[in-house]
Symmetry: C2
Subunit: 240 residues, 2 copies
Amino acid sequence: MRYELYYQPSIQGRGEFVRLPLEDAGADYVDVARDPSFGRPGIMKFLEDQSLQHPPFAPPFLKAGKLLISQTANILQFLGPRLGLVPKNEATRLWANQLQLTIADWLYEAGQTHHPIANVLYYEEQSTEGKKRGAHFAANRIPKFLGYFERILKVNIKAGDFLLGKRVAYVDLSLFQMIEGLRYAFPKTMERLEPQHPLVIALHDRIKARPRIAAYLSSPRRLAFNQQGIFRHYPEMEEE
Amino acid sequence: MRYELYYQPSIQGRGEFVRLPLEDAGADYVDVARDPSFGRPGIMKFLEDQSLQHPPFAPPFLKAGKLLISQTANILQFLGPRLGLVPKNEATRLWANQLQLTIADWLYEAGQTHHPIANVLYYEEQSTEGKKRGAHFAANRIPKFLGYFERILKVNIKAGDFLLGKRVAYVDLSLFQMIEGLRYAFPKTMERLEPQHPLVIALHDRIKARPRIAAYLSSPRRLAFNQQGIFRHYPEMEEE
């Protein structure tokens, strides 16, 4: 099965949460918007095609044979078993999905710091509000989410090094990406908080060292963080 | 199976998206926080219990036997097959979950209109920003989401009257609840937009007329919308 990932070509964004498991599993996939040899219809074609029975609301979406799947957590729930990145039993899959949706909420809040009023406006048009929201996010929300995942790793520590136990799962890759993004967007905050969350950081480092992930991160396929993505660095949000 | 729903006692909120399928299916459930005869540990006990292997990040959560499940879309994905509110095949379940997550995004945005800066602040402390965000939400986002669901109902109209075809599914109940909430929070906007989205409104009306839903809506179990929930009515958000 060759998967087709449809996402914006110049940011990591939500697409990165899908790229990471595909890369970690060594899956056969095309990142459609970034592959000049891919001549098939792009993102807009799908979004605008009024005859599509299951249209996506927004990218990312994944084409897998006849299936067209969107919503990041939904894509990951589909890919997880196929890439060997989630255990088989229902209780663990529900737990994985629950954690993934909590990461999705965290990611959403990270994005809202630079767009607290409207997605259609530029940051510069809402920077006063963004500074306020960013300060609250850094002071209250980052610690709350970090503490939640630290607590989970701690209480389950005998079961294994990963969120679901002995084997890596797609949620571990997403938590890795959250730490990466937050280090870019809120470096001072993370520098202060990381020592209090050693298990989360150890998990991040373990993911980063996985051979296929390490190869991906040093390849041109891994885009750099930038000021168009979900994670953006505005120093004014971390001023005291 | 007697389900236990854990949610706040005085608002519809996210809990309502779980109550509706339980009610429509005539399921045996306890709304823990609202049942004075229920002597078991409440919401806070679960949130603070450091020994819990699968702790919820926030309510609502559902106890089903030994399982403790949170994140609304995750709860619904679990309940759907058990309550006969989603078809069996994987492709349709993925599509249902995708729609549910899109409704979750819409709901999140509705809640952000009165909390654009921080959840820990009162509306009165962020009403200037809330008015701006609410105006954008009413002008751009409500029409975008309504149009998306209208488009889906239209392109699949031959398959049946509901989002997934001939039979009602949990996503139909959630879409009903979105319309209910938006009518409360943004009445002028909805009055203007509803005639352009006849299939969505017809679906809403069809859900409202279902015997068990109708009985529920006229019972004391259905809380009234109020200014503490996710949907709140601030007239200033709809001023021209």
